[in-house]
Symmetry: D2
Subunit: 333 residues, 4 copies
């Protein structure tokens, strides 16, 4: 399988390195507009051709797949021709800059029968894979809430806000675990530096039932926190990505609700129990992801993070962005 | 100074014990409707008279002050006669069940020239006192945000929701540190157990400038978190109340904003530096608070947590409750 | 059951309070040489008689038991007459200042058929009780080692060194868990302040098999650490007493040894697995201990921390002290 | 500057990669006895020649320096001919398998006027560099003790014990910070798996004054701990290498000793104060180290981890090994 990568900046080199180490894959093209990035790619991967012109990849009939690792504003204009030229595509998160763009790419991929996968890397970590397994096995019972805090002192992006930068991670994990379709999104935030882009935001996603999701993304935190709490009526879970090894802890704790005659009607009590930290697989997530992409292309399987999943993340982002502009108004998804 | 305490349930015993150990104070009355609470009070404090009738305290002309440690629904009907009988009052948080009640009590205390203090205990901790000192000294610069997470697996209250139970702590700390008057409040939450009371809530307080405050209160968390992040343009601060000793950490970190000619207009960069955890005073907060109440009565000083401060917390709670009922609508304070 | 307490200084008040709250127990005497301690005891416990003369307790024929909470140097001279007068005794740790004293007290108690129990409080914590249960159930397999770190910035004792102050805790936990009799002790330490008493010490206890125990006690540590590692060939355990709730964690980790033909002879590999933090009982240890003492007296049962257990701790302390003086020489126990 | 590397197994690839990225350095040789390691080296670094014969490097007159990254047993037989052929040498830790070997290599390097540097990587970390700076500035005052815990569940080495595997790190850090020459070493440990090699050890290093150093190395710990405590009479320091960012914390805490008339003679009291976590440089230690080696060769400077430093570590290891065999006997250094 012959792969070409567009964008050799921050994340592209990781993709090239991982694809280069994936069995049966040759990275044959590296495209980047910047000469210094091209020469770095050439030095590290002499077997690949470099180019400033992405259409060299589209026009290479021997190329099977294109990996797009460029800023989100350019995704649509690079993924579309790739699909039109019959290439399978792995695209950086978020999939597109708008729902409209995302829908068009999804349609095109389906029409062409091509794999269009989105690089939501967290889905391929040992931690999220274990959480998925726990949730699907019903260990947590009915889910009460999903609460994610993703804050640190961030390198400011000059072309995007904290919402589009960080929230794709949380939204992709949330929608990977939850089957219900979200109803609406509210977002509050602030731009403290006058850059024109929000540097912190609080996002609430409502669902048809009582399940509620909340995400705090922040580029202005002195400490790095990557913590997700998931509450269920049977058990509860903490996913702390800053823990070196015990990232996932399952608490045999919860509340017991019993109906009771009398003035209160409902009696709520809490219970505590053992905690368990399951062993996690330690393979690099991106390595798992690259192998998964290759397998999906070969065996015509649906990726875990397919275009539908990627589009759902864009729907949530777009709704959140509109809510942020409207000071927290509830925007339907 | 002769003090009487109404309510000898969960918190009352701590107040009695601390006042009994305060120099120059005699606890002469303990009132409680429950016989078993009265007999426990009598056993522990044989020098105090016990009664089921709070008016025994109001009618005791030798009594200087009344401490009210009963459920919030009863505050108004106990504080009002206490003030009318000329007693200084220390009342449990929150001060009252509504802004209307709170305003009336404030007016009455002012008219009578009596001390009406609210038991916002956190204000008297070594940690919050140090944070106040740091903020007032301008160490953090202009404040960007206040973010508080106060979650644990809670003993459910049967007569209140998580908002009225936990958020008074965060609102009192917030308003102790910030001089600006809040503009409006939004609240989202959920009642997962069908008890009729929200068990988790996300509260956003907006201010006239870009400063933003957010509070997450939750009775359904498997882990106990008591963490406040305060961001400023010079430094940032973390207050982790679960830390045994280094509860307050000040980070010499932040962002630098510079105006620049060119396409972006504003250039934002981040900087990191040393962290410092100042030594905190370790005295029990309630002991400091009781001594402060006595001093304010004697020297006619204004308490740190006076009726104005207590009323502001009730204003925020009432606005948050209305927003919660209206699914996050922005409610002016 | 009528109890008298000798020593109302640092720890005595906790013992009096807990016995006073134990069903069926009356604390009828408090003895202390210091007038201010006697008057504090009288104020808090008006039903008890106070005295400066411990023989008032020995001579009170209605008294069932004596609790000795005085400095270790006085234990022998107080416990001995108490036993001679037919009183059951609970004595502060360590039981005695020397093995010779301890042996004599043990003999006397046995001869008189009286309960002589040592206040090794940690044995009665939910954490150590759970660890005992885990070890006895064979969950850890054969034990490899016991490693304890008990360090903090200590209030210096003026009449003892760090060894006699802190190591009784570790030695009592160690010998509560391990059935084998220790062979010898080595100790290295230092007196940095010229006080004549070691302020830090490293203690190694050797056993007939390959099991090894090590204890680090230190009054000069900037941070408080209370951590025990216990390694076994099936599982391993960490007991971190500074953790607010998950004090005990059991790791399904270890090493696998297999014999193999070839140059190395023995092949050692490691395996990792889940971690589990069992729920612990949260009752105050001293309350459990006081109830246990009463039960042992009434039902003529052997206490968990009986005189034999207490004497073994003194044997280890005495050997360690001799090794410390001899710069780490191995001293048989 | 032309460099050749011998040994392309576990650590060698990191050295090759870092030297390849160092300005003005060409890695021209990779030697390894294993064909698969040579082919991996060739694939990753096509510009370098590979060989199974180390003497190809010695005989290459254009080669300036040799890097030895092979098991310790082979160091002497590789470093010696490299020096004899006039090559500067960077050798893996520990420098040699015995003091005798180490002394011979040191002499040879001095005679030839060549740089012989030992790869004690920790010395080049931002954390240890900052600690060195703090100690040298006298911030801690006179040093009381150095206590290091370096434990984890280790991949067992088949040709060495835990002492020779892990303790070089602690001994190199210790001797980098302390000017005094150690007096003697005691070591206790155990071999639980019957492999013939100790899997855990407790090492005590005594100095002429009251300063004492202790190291706990362990391959059988369920948790990974990398913590050093350094006590001084002015301040104390904790270096926790598992912390993601605040690895070094300085406590303005300690003890105050005052001489006093009366029964105790010496009065010791403790004091607590602020804690400070200085900002650390985040550059990869090995990159700093490679640049330092190049600089020392070019400018004829003495490396921080020169042959004397490396030999001192071997002296401590050899003494510790003898003490371990003699069950803790004190062995002079």
């Amino acid at each position: 399988m012959r792969v070409g990568v567009i964008g050799y900046g921050y994340w592209g080199p990781n993709l090239v390195r991982n694809f280069a180490q994936t069995d049966g894959v040759d990275v044959v093209w590296c495209a980047d507009l910047r000469a210094e990035c091209r020469s770095l790619a050439k030095k590290r991967h002499p077997q690949a051709s470099v180019t400033a012109d992405a259409s060299d990849l589209f026009n290479d009939e021997t190329l099977d797949a294109v990996v797009v690792a460029t800023p989100v504003a350019t995704h649509y204009s690079l993924v579309k021709p790739a699909l039109e030229h019959g290439k399978h595509v792995l695209v950086e998160k978020p999939m597109a800059a708008s729902v409209r763009e995302g829908e068009e790419l999804l349609d095109l991929a389906q029409k062409k029968g091509l794999v269009l996968m989105v690089d939501h890397t967290f889905i391929y970590t040992g931690a999220v894979r274990k959480i998925k397994e726990i949730v699907e096995a019903g260990e947590l019972g009915n889910l009460y809430y999903f609460d994610s805090v993703r804050v640190n002192l961030g390198l400011f992006q000059h072309d995007t806000d904290v919402l589009w930068d960080l929230a794709p991670h949380d939204f992709s994990i949330l929608m990977h675990l939850v089957k219900e379709r979200p109803k609406c999104v509210s977002a509050m935030g602030s731009d403290h530096t006058g850059s024109g882009f929000a540097d912190m935001a609080y996002l609430t996603v409502q669902f048809p039932n009582h399940f509620i999701a909340h995400v705090h993304v922040n580029w202005l935190s002195p400490v790095k926190i990557r913590q997700v709490l998931i509450g269920g009526d049977r058990r509860m879970l903490v996913y702390d990505d800053m823990e070196p090894s015990e990232k996932v802890r399952v608490y045999d704790s919860g509340v017991t609700v019993s109906t009771r005659e009398g003035i209160y009607g409902v009696l709520v009590d809490y219970r505590t129990g053992d905690m368990r930290a399951p062993k996690l697989e330690f393979r690099e997530a991106l390595s798992t992801e690259c192998a998964h992409f290759v397998e999906c292309v070969r065996l015509k399987k649906t990726p875990w993070t397919n275009a539908e999943a990627g589009l759902m993340v864009v729907r949530l982002l777009e709704a959140a962005a509109r809510s942020l502009a409207a000071q927290g108004a509830r925007i339907p998804v």
